[in-house]
């Protein structure tokens, strides 16, 4: 069944979009990532203009994250206090990020920079996670218990706060900084930032993996809602028909994803996420290095 999208001005298969939404929803529920880094390239692939894909992707992430976070709330795997601290940093970061983005846009080459950002961060995050989680898995196979996390520089900072759900007593500065950094990147790369947030929470803040997913989703909702409004009011690129089709698939997928995530071991979950991140990074890197089929491209002129 073909559906004509009023803003994207293309006609696409409705079931394809439902499936795409479902797939990203499952990942969202399993790993606590919004899925923006997956859905945007996939939408390009089926012919949706990039600007519409980025803006509408953000709207779809609001829906699937909201659906998933409710499932996490029922299981008490959301650290609200930590989420709010991260969010304060995140919104400040997003505001800075928008300024940076507009500056880069005026300089041209913003597409390239976004892609390089993706390759760089996905590559580092993916590789680190893969190595670490493989090590952890090997250790747990041998039967030796994972060593207790050492006290690092994070524990030496002032303004300590107790985060009961995470079982942490740390300074508020690191979470604020993590939120800020992710906010900046999120605005530049047009994603929720979950794939950076999740590893940062595990490795820098030392939060337990089970709590990380719900907490990350909680703050992603707000960041992507903010992004959606920004795109809708400045670029007019949010396609509500596209969003509805994606999010019907997405919210259902997110519920299944949460169930799958709860039945898997934390190490397995991390390995899978790492593999996913590394493969997306590899694909983007190849695109930059290999000679494209068409050297010319038409920049869409968005007229209001």
């Amino acid at each position: 069944m073909q559906i004509y999208l009023p803003i994207a001005e293309v006609s696409v298969n409705a079931f394809l979009l439902l499936g795409l939404g479902g797939l990203v929803g499952i990942l969202s529920g399993m790993f606590g990532v919004g899925g923006g880094f997956l859905i945007t390239p996939l939408l390009f692939f089926i012919g949706v203009p990039p600007a519409v894909a980025v803006a509408t992707g953000a709207n779809q992430i609001v829906a699937s994250s909201f659906s998933a976070v409710l499932a996490h709330f029922q299981r008490r795997t959301v650290d609200l206090k930590m989420g709010l601290v991260l969010l304060i940093g995140g919104l400040a970061g997003a505001a800075i990020g928008v300024v940076v983005f507009n500056y880069l846009k005026s300089q041209g080459q913003v597409d390239l920079l976004v892609k390089l950002c993706y390759v760089f961060f996905l590559g580092i995050v993916g590789a680190l996670m893969l190595v670490e989680s493989l090590n952890a898995l090997l250790k747990s196979r041998k039967g030796t218990p994972a060593p207790r996390r050492q006290r690092n520089w994070v524990h030496a900072l002032p303004f300590k706060m107790r985060f009961r759900t995470s079982g942490l007593y740390i300074s508020v500065i690191p979470p604020l900084l993590v939120g800020l950094a992710v906010g900046v990147l999120a605005a530049i790369m047009g994603v929720g930032g979950g794939f950076i947030m999740v590893p940062a929470m595990i490795y820098i803040l030392g939060m337990p993996t089970k709590v990380v997913v719900g907490t990350s989703l909680f703050q992603i909702i707000f960041v992507t809602a903010f992004t959606t409004m920004l795109h809708a009011t400045t670029n007019y690129t949010v396609d509500v028909v596209l969003a509805v089709l994606l999010l019907i698939g997405g919210v259902v997928g997110a519920q299944f994803g949460t169930q799958i995530g709860l039945r898997m071991k934390a190490e397995q979950l991390r390995i899978l996420l790492a593999l996913l991140v590394v493969s997306v990074c590899g694909k983007l890197a190849l695109e930059l290095v290999l000679m494209p089929d068409e050297l010319f491209s038409i920049a869409k002129q968005w007229r209001h």
């Binding site: 009023p6 006609s11 012919g47 609001v62 080459q109 809708a232 509500v240 519920q255 050297l295």
Partner: protein
């Protein structure tokens, strides 16, 4: 003085060419883009009206074009720098139609001379205007060619030679398919009658391509009330997320 002469010549031309004229019919003069729009086919048919017997000269040939509204297009070119492919330069093509289809009754180079093509801007190459587009870039023509190549691959531009059927040098008909990735605007259908490569008569008629119903409503809202539109998108997202969560809880508790 010279311009007056040109004007006089222009006025004189139609009178001379009026011996054979186009009488046109269209299967539809408007295309409605609805929610399940999946492309459209326009049937163009007509007859050649003449007061005098059919001339003994070459066979009459028919060229039909449909073009979308012309818009400036920014074309970028990639080049390999530091091991990766990046955009190095761009050219603003003054005006390129969003859609362009030509149907002819014989190969295009046989039905039309270059001069006539230049005058009426019939072939795709001529329909794209890039006069004065960054003359300092030597390969400006490459950029215009790229527009044609890219749009052809998106089925937006097409040349359909030998697809106009002409009967008894009088009746003609053709069908032009319009793809599903159509944009809104006033399209123009043009019909040219040619003999020995010269245009002897032409006719022009608009075809309105418009979004209707829900498509129209959403598009207008997104442009005129963007804030409300954004809030609506978020409200839909949140309620869908909540709805799915509630539905799953019900399913699990049963």
């Amino acid at each position: 003085m010279r311009s007056l002469l040109v004007a006089l010549l222009l006025f004189a031309l139609p009178a001379q060419a009026a011996e054979e004229e186009v009488v046109l019919g269209l299967s539809q003069d408007r295309v409605a883009i609805t929610a399940n729009f999946d492309g459209s086919e326009i049937l163009i048919f007509g007859a050649v009206k003449r007061e005098t017997p059919i001339p003994d000269a070459d066979q009459i040939q028919v060229v039909v074009t449909i073009s979308g509204p012309g818009r400036p297009v920014l074309v970028r070119r990639k080049e390999k720098k530091f091991g990766i492919w990046i955009n190095v330069d761009s050219v603003l093509v003054d005006s390129a139609p969003s859609f362009y289809a030509i149907a002819t009754s014989a190969p295009l180079d046989q039905v039309l001379t270059d001069t006539e093509d230049l005058r009426y801007r019939i072939s795709i190459k001529r329909a794209i205007r890039s006069v004065g587009a960054a003359m300092h870039i030597r390969e400006a023509q490459d950029f215009a060619d790229a527009v044609v190549r890219i749009r052809k691959s998106e089925h937006l531009y097409s040349v359909r030679e030998n697809t106009v059927a002409v009967d008894q040098q009088t009746l003609f008909r053709t069908a032009i398919e319009m793809p599903s990735n159509l944009t809104e605007g006033t399209y123009t259908a043009r019909i040219f009658l040619t003999r020995s490569g010269r245009v002897i008569s032409h006719y022009e008629t608009p075809i309105e391509v418009r979004k209707v119903g829900l498509e129209r409503f959403l598009f207008t809202m997104s442009r005129e009330r963007p804030f409300l539109y954004g809030l609506m998108s978020l409200a839909i997202a949140i309620s869908a997320g909540w709805g799915a969560s509630a539905a799953f809880r019900l399913l699990r508790n049963r």
